[in-house]
């Protein structure tokens, strides 16, 4: 049950700490859904998920069941997954093809792909003299207030007002540019498989963890070390570069805890953040060299150097998207409840790139992001334990004080200071944006 009064948001967030209820109070969760997820630009999916007319994919935006569909006009429309008649969900499957039209399974109302009413059985007799007619807006499937796409990545906002997608993304738009620019054809296409994993914690714990540069060598030490041992064995026998997929894992251990300060986070308005790279993904093996040649042919030497020189590990688009552009993968965060969060995990092919380059993305997808992950198992364990601890009276505050007061502020961005990559600046930045959203 919702309480009558919601705690004073202004008192929940201080520059270097936040109240624990921010993560655990169901009333705050409801307000978050209303003021954040159901207002801002939320990632729906990639256009290549719905290549043919009638193809649809369902997803959750905040508490709203939505779907995106490819229309006859070749546009991707985003609609509430709900029949305007009696509220029946229109598409019961997660994805599929709806054919020429949507047809409700309850009373056979039909709709165009843009949501507009097509027909109601015996409409003329059934609704004669009635306040409803075919043009009544309440007889169409409701559309997301705003839909925009950037380089194939489709976003929707359920609020008719607010910044445009480009304004909202700001510098975090590099996530999509970096990913697409690395394709010789300048585009990516989705590999049609979505891994879905549920964590037993508040959604914000996921967003904070993604750019927490201190946690890998602690949380992921076991896998890092295990992979490093095997990597060394393989390196004795194999040609250079062959063990790269293991390096993606062993980096978690071989980068020692004190080295993480060498990296940098750059934080932006609306809570977005970039974590600079560390995995050494520009090796000099024959596969990489072959790819480089294709890229140079497509872009020229100068532009090529710019593209592969982009040094990103993670881009966070707050509140619900984590992108690893150099590895062509993303995780969309769908809050299910105050203590349950679903992540939808996708990866992409660089159009025009050799198969060997795709396989790097695939290796990371399978090893790190699959439901048998060698990495995220320990994150999920921490998330659950955090949520349990925060639900207790053992303390009132969550601290984000690491390197507080040392960040470098410039107009429109806050960076961690040199050699302070483990600064909790991203968490402070997220909570600052959160508080602004929550004030409405």
């Amino acid at each position: 049950m919702l309480r009558e009064s919601i705690p004073d948001i202004g008192k929940m967030v201080e520059p270097d700490r936040v109240r624990r209820e921010v993560y655990t109070d169901p009333a705050i969760f409801e307000l978050e859904m209303q003021n954040i997820h159901e207002k801002v630009w939320i990632y729906c999916g990639h256009e290549s998920q719905v290549p043919k007319v009638g193809d649809y994919y369902t997803m959750q935006i905040g508490r709203q069941p939505m779907l995106m569909v490819r229309g006859k006009d070749n546009k991707v429309h985003v609609l509430y997954n709900r029949c305007p008649h009696r509220g029946n969900m229109m598409c019961g499957d997660r994805h599929g093809n709806t054919g020429e039209q949507f047809r409700c399974s309850y009373h056979a109302w039909t709709f165009h792909h843009d949501g507009k009413l097509k027909n109601i059985p015996m409409m003329d007799s059934g609704y004669a003299g009635n306040r409803l007619n075919k043009e009544s807006p309440e007889l169409s499937m409701k559309r997301a207030a705003r839909v925009e796409s950037y380089r194939g990545f489709v976003f929707a906002s359920l609020s008719p007002t607010g910044p445009s997608l480009k304004e909202f993304l700001g510098k975090s738009i590099v996530a999509f540019d970096d990913m697409c620019d690395r394709a010789p054809e300048g585009e990516v296409e989705v590999v049609p498989n979505c891994f879905r994993v549920i964590q037993h914690s508040n959604w914000k714990l996921f967003m904070e963890n993604q750019i927490d540069a201190l946690h890998p060598s602690v949380t992921h030490q076991s896998t890092g070390r295990a992979a490093h041992e095997v990597e060394k064995e393989i390196a004795k026998k194999a040609r250079a570069g062959e063990a790269l997929s293991y390096h993606m894992l062993s980096a978690f251990a071989t980068v020692t805890i004190d080295k993480w300060d060498n990296f940098q986070t750059i934080n932006y308005p609306y809570g977005h953040c970039i974590l600079t790279g560390y995995m050494g993904l520009r090796p000099q093996d024959p596969d990489t060299k072959a790819y480089d040649q294709i890229m140079i042919k497509a872009y020229g030497q100068k532009r090529f150097e710019e593209i592969v020189g982009v040094n990103i590990h993670h881009v966070l688009v707050y509140p619900g998207l984590s992108v690893q552009s150099p590895l062509q993968q993303l995780r969309a965060v769908r809050p299910l409840g105050v203590d349950r969060t679903l992540t939808e995990i996708w990866h992409f092919r660089l159009k025009g790139a050799p198969e060997a380059i795709y396989r790097r993305s695939l290796a990371y997808y399978n090893l790190v992001n699959s439901p048998a992950t060698l990495i995220n198992a320990d994150d999920l364990e921490n998330f659950w334990k955090c949520h349990q601890g925060l639900s207790s009276d053992g303390g009132d505050w969550v601290s984000f004080a690491r390197h507080f007061g040392h960040d470098i502020e410039r107009p429109g961005e806050v960076s961690s200071a040199p050699n302070q990559g483990t600064s909790e600046a991203p968490m402070r930045n997220q909570m600052k944006a959160w508080a602004e959203y929550m004030r409405g």
Partner: protein, 160 residues
Amino acid sequence: MAKPDVQHEVEQFLYRQAEILDGKQWQGWIDLFTPDGIYWMPPAPEYKTWDGQPAIFAEDKNLMTVRMNRVLHPDAWSQRPLWETNHVVSNVIIEKASGEEIVARSRFHMMELRRDDVRHFAGSYRHELKRTRDGLRIKLQRVDMTNAQAAYDYVLQVWV
């Protein structure tokens, strides 16, 4: 129909594999594979090959060893809680038995206890086996888990 002795031999092998897995004898489990053996769990039934595609598991012996070393590491936090599994394997059908090669299909049901939570996983195995001097060994084990396509409440830490 397969000869009774082959049927019996394969059944005993599959039961033994399940027992080794439930007994957390990780190295013993890995040793059941040929040197180039693969353990594969596709995301959906329509996948035809383990290589170069999304997979829940697609592990050679090197990766199996990473997984084993991880779960044996004292700081594998997520492995610390009480964690037990119980496999039941049945419905064993010999698809092919010629010379050194045997292909067998079977069904499994695995119950997992982690902390106070119980999960159930079920599906089918397809073992491509090879007769070696050490006995039967696995060239390819395909695991089609019925709940593979559902959202995972938490993850799979060890082979199913």
